[in-house]
């Protein structure tokens, strides 16, 4: 029997995740029994799972992994792709923040409270931010503060404020600081004008100062004299919500409507490319597609609209933001847009490098799209075809890949500012090298274009 405790599930003594023969379970420990019962019996679980904000689960009867501590074993609904906050666009992190606050408010109504507000407890499932840690709730005791307030500010408010007010790329600080962005750093990096924003002034600037000033203070005594009423907590939550809601980001000098215009394709070539992809997806019937270099997701939707769960990666936060907004407005449930730099994909992070999985550890997908991508990797990033073939065969079993020749205007543009050292960048070499890793199942020249589209199957 192959049973393993999940390497990221060690912080909370209430229980932990484990896998058994590939299936995911959560052990609920005895010490958390009362809280678990309250969650299930107060209607809170039903309330939150009905609105799609808490992962559903079944109680199951299997041998606990630590029987001496076990109260129950539950099997959570499976999230098809685990993503991390440093892979989310601005509005995804914003939705996750608002979902956390909404969950906390509903918890308070059931006399419970979130004991943590980690962005890693939120995943995107069927198009919505959802809490995946069923054991996050503790009893609420009138008069006590929200213990996760600091964590909420570090994991959500600080990165959102930095992305909106300083620079969108600062979301990547979340890769460095696994427990959220330190508030003194956020306070330093935010423009002075944010001190006029009451919410940011209180929850980031003053909060950071207070952390330094009272670092070693024993607050127990002060707490006795001055309890925080439930009304005050609700006021705090409402203010956090309004502060988050007011933060917004639009790429400089653009309108969302026309941010992305699709390449140099003629209408007929574009249509032909779409038809080929749709047909090949329908034929191969993948369970999961990863669209690498997906732009705003126009080709990802050819798969997701056929009911295939599709992760739509792009390096450009603006493209991902637009993709996400489209997904929300059309209420799409099979699509997950994410920010990813393929030349430096998300590494394994955290304790023992095992808490957050790298991009390749989450592979392989049944099918990978690499559309209008190879020339960027081969020419802008100097990657030889062999490296590309090795990489794609690591991350996917099937591959739909487009070859864009040097004569294409997009490639000419890439070569404008640099010497052409790419003698081997030819269709023949591309095929020869990819055949070392894949069987070429289909090869079609796209109408009215110099590009070729391939369907390949891993050897």
């Amino acid at each position: 029997m192959n049973r393993n405790q999940h390497p990221a599930s060690f912080r909370d003594p209430s229980g932990f995740l484990f896998t058994d023969e590939g299936a995911l379970y959560r052990q609920v420990n005895q010490q958390y029994a009362d809280e678990y019962q309250r969650l299930m019996e107060s209607g809170l679980y039903e309330n939150l799972s009905k609105i799609g904000r808490l992962v559903t689960h079944q109680e199951v009867d299997i041998e606990p992994i630590q029987p001496e501590k076990a109260f129950k074993i539950i099997q959570p609904e499976l999230i098809p792709f685990i993503s991390y906050p440093y892979e989310w666009s601005f509005s995804q992190l914003k939705e996750a923040a608002l979902a956390t606050l909404a969950i906390q408010k509903r918890a308070l109504n059931a006399e419970m409270s979130l004991k943590d507000a980690s962005a890693y407890n939120i995943q995107f499932h069927q198009g919505k931010a959802i809490l995946i840690d069923t054991l996050s709730f503790e009893f609420y005791k009138e008069g006590t503060p929200w213990v996760a307030y600091k964590q909420f500010c570090q994991h959500f408010l600080a990165p959102l404020a930095l992305m909106a007010k300083t620079d969108i790329r600062l979301s990547q600080l979340l890769r460095v600081y696994i427990d959220g962005i330190p508030l003194d750093l956020a306070s330093e990096l935010l423009p002075k004008s944010t001190k006029l924003n009451a919410g940011l002034m209180m929850h980031i600037h003053m909060h950071a100062k207070a952390q330094v000033k009272y670092a070693d203070e024993d607050v127990e005594e002060k707490k006795q004299n001055k309890a925080i009423s439930k009304q005050s907590l609700l006021g705090l939550l409402e203010n956090l919500k309004n502060t988050v809601k007011k933060l917004d980001w639009t790429p400089a000098g653009t309108e969302w409507g026309n941010y992305y215009e699709i390449t140099n394709y003629s209408d007929s070539a574009f249509l032909h490319k779409k038809e080929l992809i749709s047909a090949w997806v329908a034929e191969t019937k993948p369970k999961e597609v990863w669209d690498l270099g997906a732009n705003n997701g126009v080709f990802s939707r050819l798969a997701s609209e056929q009911g295939v769960f599709t992760v739509s990666f792009d390096i450009d936060p603006a493209a991902v933001e637009q993709n996400y907004r489209q997904m929300k407005s059309a209420k799409e449930t099979n699509l997950l847009p994410l920010v990813l730099d393929l030349t430096n994909p998300s590494p394994a992070l955290g304790w023992h490098n095992r808490e957050r999985e790298s991009f390749t550890e989450r592979a392989p997908a049944d099918m990978v799209f690499a559309l209008a991508l190879v020339h960027h990797l081969a020419i802008s990033n100097n990657l030889p075809f062999q490296q590309l073939a090795d990489f794609f065969s690591d991350v996917g079993d099937w591959l739909i890949i487009e070859f864009v020749p040097k004569s294409d205007s997009q490639v000419k543009k890439l070569l404008l500012s640099r010497e052409d050292i790419f003698d081997e960048y030819t269709l023949e070499d591309f095929e020869r090298v990819f055949k070392t890793r894949f069987k070429i199942q289909k090869k079609v020249k796209i109408n009215e274009a110099e590009r070729h589209l391939f369907l390949m199957e891993k050897l």
Binding site: R11, D12, P13, S14, Q31, Y32, E35, I51, R53, E95, L98, A99, L101, A102, K105, K115, D116, K128, E138, F139, K141, T144, P145, V147, A148, Y149, K150, Q151, C153, M202, M206, H207, K209, A210, Q211, V212, K213, Y214, A215, D216, E217, D218, V219, E220, K222, K223, K226, I228, S229, Q231, S232, L234, G235, L236, L237, E238, N239, K241, K245, K331
Partner: protein
């Protein structure tokens, strides 16, 4: 610090103190606003606003 036996997250001394400070003010503000809205409603000065209590609910997420 000893908030509850199950506590495993360090809430931070400064974070607790600032929270006590701002929550008191924000809670009072919330109370005043909701009472004011009720008064205005009674006087017929305002159309019944959305239930304040639902303001954190889910509908806003999908705007």
């Amino acid at each position: 610090m000893h908030f509850s036996p199950s506590l495993y997250l360090d809430p931070g001394s400064g974070s607790i103190l600032i929270q006590m400070l701002v929550a008191a003010a924000l809670g009072a503000g919330l109370l005043i606003r909701s009472q004011w809205a009720k008064i205005m409603q009674l006087l017929g000065r305002a159309t019944p606003e959305e239930d304040k209590d639902s303001s954190l609910d889910d509908d806003f997420l999908d705007e």
